[in-house]
Symmetry: D2
Subunit: 382 residues, 4 copies
């Protein structure tokens, strides 16, 4: 394969981020194929044509099904709102296209399972955009853990908090409507920290959750996507979510998410405690980690700040000098590298649909736990 031809559905926030990565990735990493930005789909032809020009794609369509079935598309890249992921992915799978989808994969675990099984049966490649695990620092954390440098993991505390809905005057949007978004901050940002916990610690077995909608209704703008004509619409999902979890390897932990966490802009954080050390990370300082190991002399121990550099995973391709710093979009560049390598070399990709289905199972378990006020075993969720 010389070219990997991309069909992008949706050109909003994430569509633009994907496009930056498609364009920059070949200049950063040596790749097995070139990336051809072949076609994009938007909600109508006019917008699609405008975006083709802006984003530097070859062709435009106002109908995503046209894109999915186009013979010159190798990968369908789904950057649409959550509720559309399932239909688009199943259509792409049916058309034999590899699928690169934004997260969360589906509105619930049942749908995610259906998508996963369809993809596996069709033998196509899938990758889901949990981009924070692509950060070279996250990869370094995994390397440290796998080397046993902090011993056996006994605790994980993770958050993904932001404040983009902290202002009660921020109007209603599709993200607040259950049938369009599924759960609230739980699925939106919580899914990232769940995925990170699974990446770094392993399977989650049991969940006990608490959810809360703090701002119970929001102003409905006239151009809202809903049919409701009232001035205010009811917020149908959670603003704050936290859960206690038990991992299959015996570790326990807490996971927390909020979309009303004043002051937090990119509050994906974690502290991982092992029997021999600990790691602390904050995505707002995404190019560094704090590492404590009790193998240092006892009077010289402390958390050390490691700045990511060329001796760490995937950094050298960006810059040969240490500590120069990577950004949000660079994570997507690594993700796109994984996409191209995974498809061209027929290598496993992670997180694929199955891994994303595991996230959806935790989300469903959390909602069920909240409803029933008890621990939910993941095995109770389909």
């Amino acid at each position: 394969m010389e070219k990997l031809r991309i069909g992008l559905i949706g050109t909003g926030y994430m569509g633009k981020a994907h496009n930056i990565a498609f364009k920059a990735c070949p200049a950063v990493f040596p790749l097995l194929a070139s990336i051809e930005c072949e076609m994009l789909a938007e909600v109508n032809q006019t917008l699609a044509e405008q975006k083709v020009k802006e984003l530097g794609f070859n062709r435009a369509t106002g109908d995503w099904r046209t894109l999915v079935n186009d013979h010159n598309i190798d990968v369908v890249d789904i950057c649409s709102p959550n509720y559309l992921h399932k239909e688009m992915a199943l259509a792409a799978i049916a058309a034999g296209k590899h699928v690169y989808s934004e997260k969360p994969l589906a509105l619930n675990a049942v749908d995610a399972k259906e998508m996963t099984e369809a993809a596996e049966k069709a033998g196509i490649k899938t990758l889901v955009g949990f981009n924070y695990v692509k950060n070279p620092v996250a990869q370094l954390v995994k390397e440290i853990i796998e080397n046993g440098e902090i011993g056996n993991i006994v605790h994980f505390r993770g958050t993904h908090n932001e404040d983009y809905l902290a202002d009660p005057n921020t109007p209603f949007s599709w993200r607040l409507k259950r049938e369009l978004a599924g759960s609230g901050t739980l699925g939106d940002m919580g899914s990232h920290i769940i995925n990170m916990a699974q990446y770094l610690v392993g399977d989650i077995n049991e969940v006990m959750a608490d959810l809360q909608t703090v701002i119970k209704e929001r102003l409905l703008l006239s151009n809202s996507q809903t049919e409701n004509n009232n001035q205010y619409a009811k917020v149908e999902n959670d603003d704050q979510a936290h859960m206690m979890v038990r991992f299959s390897n015996g570790a326990i932990g807490t996971l927390e998410s909020s979309r009303i966490a004043c002051g937090r802009k990119m509050g994906l954080t974690y502290e991982i405690t092992g029997t021999k050390g600990a790691i602390v990370f904050d995505q707002e300082r995404l190019s560094e980690l704090q590492l404590f190991t009790n193998t240092d002399p006892s009077n010289r121990q402390g958390f050390r700040t490691i700045l990511v550099g060329p001796e760490h995973p995937d950094y050298a391709a960006f810059c040969v000098a240490s500590g120069h710093g990577l950004g949000y979009n660079d994570q997507k560049i690594v993700e796109v590298r994984d996409l191209v390598e995974g498809i061209c070399a027929d290598k496993p990709m992670w997180p694929d649909f199955r891994a994303a289905y595991e996230v959806n199972k935790v989300l469903d378990a959390a909602e069920l736990s909240y409803k029933e006020g008890r621990w939910i075993k993941l095995s109770e969720i389909e």
Copy 2:
């Protein structure tokens, strides 16, 4: 009253800290009475006499009941292991002495209630050594909240993690035995963050907890206080504890404690989120807080680091210049100031036995929740 005469029981870690505060407090704060270090009690007369000299007290006794009943003692200061608090406090109350006790107040809520009711009935003054709420920064946080500067509280995430038992070779001690210590890290350090949450946010209504003993047995030293002759003793309480809580004002939160948290030395931390701002605090940097308020212009918002200074509560007595920094023992000096003022001016003191009883109720609720796998209302606990 010209002199407040102290009777100190126990001269270990906390006994020494109390003594530093007794000696320094009059040089820091103007007080309504002088502090007389009148008598101390230790486990035997020899040790007591040695300690009288070391600590600068007037008299020594090897029998704490002698101290409690001495006519020249105004305040009984209990710095003994947890399981002795109840008996000593009840004796002191019976003798009409004011009581200054280390925390947690009792091994369980039933005992704490008995102690509280006895004290209240006797009309004596009580103060419990949850010293972290005496930090001028904690007082400043309370002032900020009460002023409404961060709006209504919606979330509290607190930890009190240390690593003093992270090493599996650290031997067995009384703290690991249920009948001597009660719960493990939950009561030892968890009680501090529970007390802090109650101080800053208000009453806790419901608790859902998870507990875990990671290091299941430890070497029994020959001079151990237990009668067990085996080489290893079973650890009888929790190494790691976390809980989800619901406050009576509608806020939710998570509280966490660990005594095996590698790298954490004084890991009492909290993040308080309100509808208009947020506060972040870390006791390892005890003289500063992070404050975010959304009343700053939107493109100039950020967490600001406020260094405690003379414009904040209780700092000016220590130093007239800002940012010079207070230490752990300074918190005890504030606590002793409260003790002297509370008794001499007959003012309320906080946290008194009743406030400490509220902590014990949360501890019991957490243990019951863990056992039964469900939310426990505080009203279910006596």
Copy 3:
């Protein structure tokens, strides 16, 4: 102009960084012209052809003069070692090409002046790669200063310290030889902090400097670019440089640079003090700044951490959400945007050759000051 055709000389560290920016820039910013990576030059044809494939350029040459004189090149991009900048730039100017050059512009102020005057006479556009001023955070700092938010500047303390030569076993290279590199860390990294000081505070009038070569000789590798056959070569320029400066607006300051500063990886830092506030920045955390303003209530003052976001200069093009973080290469993307806009809209670009010449004057003044042990006025330097 529809296309801006780039001719890149040099494909090492900086050449790669420029290429990433050329490829990503159009996906980040809407541009007045597309960027065509037309031709690259390397030291021989074989390497050039290999690099053309790697970097995604159209044509290759082993002779940079061919590139400079090619009719299909609009911009000559100079990423070669310092000593070649002058000859290449003068040739490009003579051929009527716009010039985008890495820093420092020249080995000394005399050369820089000649290059500047040639460019201005020819009416071509120039831009020099002092990329740290392109960081949206640096632009925000400038905005804050220009708004008067910190009052009049009274002090600037800047550093650019790294440790890439801290290990005495790191071998000799062209950077350590005066005729190839000019001064040492002074010109290499010191030029960045000088440029930053001029950008943020204004002209420097007087300089007093101290320089030191700590590691006086280094192992000469057999493939070294020098003709010397001895095993060790003498280091001919400074490892550590610091200077006191006086700005034309009355502020004073210190500037420091080191290439042997153990632990510093990207130690470009500054603290700017004004009559009403202060700003602190550290390039190792390139997406945030610390701002103190004395207009906050006196008991709520503190340095606040502002995370760069869409309300700040140039960030929104990268990401619509705050605090997601930019990286080193993103600065070059902004720089390339300035290049394209400057040329296509015939707008001024900064730092152009004249601004870079001002940096070279400070470098020369520092060396003269060290030699003569006295303050040097910039007016003493040609």
Copy 4:
């Protein structure tokens, strides 16, 4: 000696701090003698008597000469304004009393030398209150350096910046008058960072300085100590001072002080670079240091935050648990411990008058350098 009898002159800011230390020190450290707060002197008898009560001393005098000559005083403790240090110290020395003096020792090096020689001739003990070197963290830094853990020192960058005079409306005071205070921020706070540099790195050989008075006049309050009747008085010494220094061991460095540094409350900071590592310290976080050593594996290197604990110098006496934090006054407690031990065990104390004289020499060199625009060798200063 069973008792060390203190005579305190001056009960302002520093007098109170000394008193806290006198009272707390015996409860923190086992001492060779008890400390008797015997007599204090204030500007008149009324104030002295009020202060005796407040501070818990035995006797009062309105005439410091009475105190100096009292037979029941062992140590004269000088906490008066700078210009009085010399007269008081010489009188105390003449009376055969040990002297504990606040810093800077004298208004100039000539006076400091006279005081030093008088003390040495009389064989009395002296200690000067450069308390920041008593911080256990500073002692730990010295230990790390002396162990060779960061190799040979090549660079020291130190600051002592505060903002207590940043507001131009802050009125005139004796600190701004040359005959009462000597130099400005240079001697006031700069003396601390000079002393710290000498403590940690060694002798300073050469100095090149720049000084600046930014706020040239200030409002004269009616109760001002000067005789001037104008509304505004001219500020006679420096607001900002910085210098480049060369140490006798070959290291170079920069030292900086400001009393108008907006946002800095206790900005004594330093970064020490060695051939094998580096140390960073900030007095605003006085209980921690950052240590980088290049003996860590290259892909695990980073500055580690060491929290001071019982394995480090002098901490265990304050608290047996790590990371609980020391405060400003605790440094004075260590200083007083040194005073008592030095006198009672006839051990050397540091910094004594001779060490403080070395600070005064650097201060004079800095002023001369500024005046003459050239490097000044310390040997040029008497």
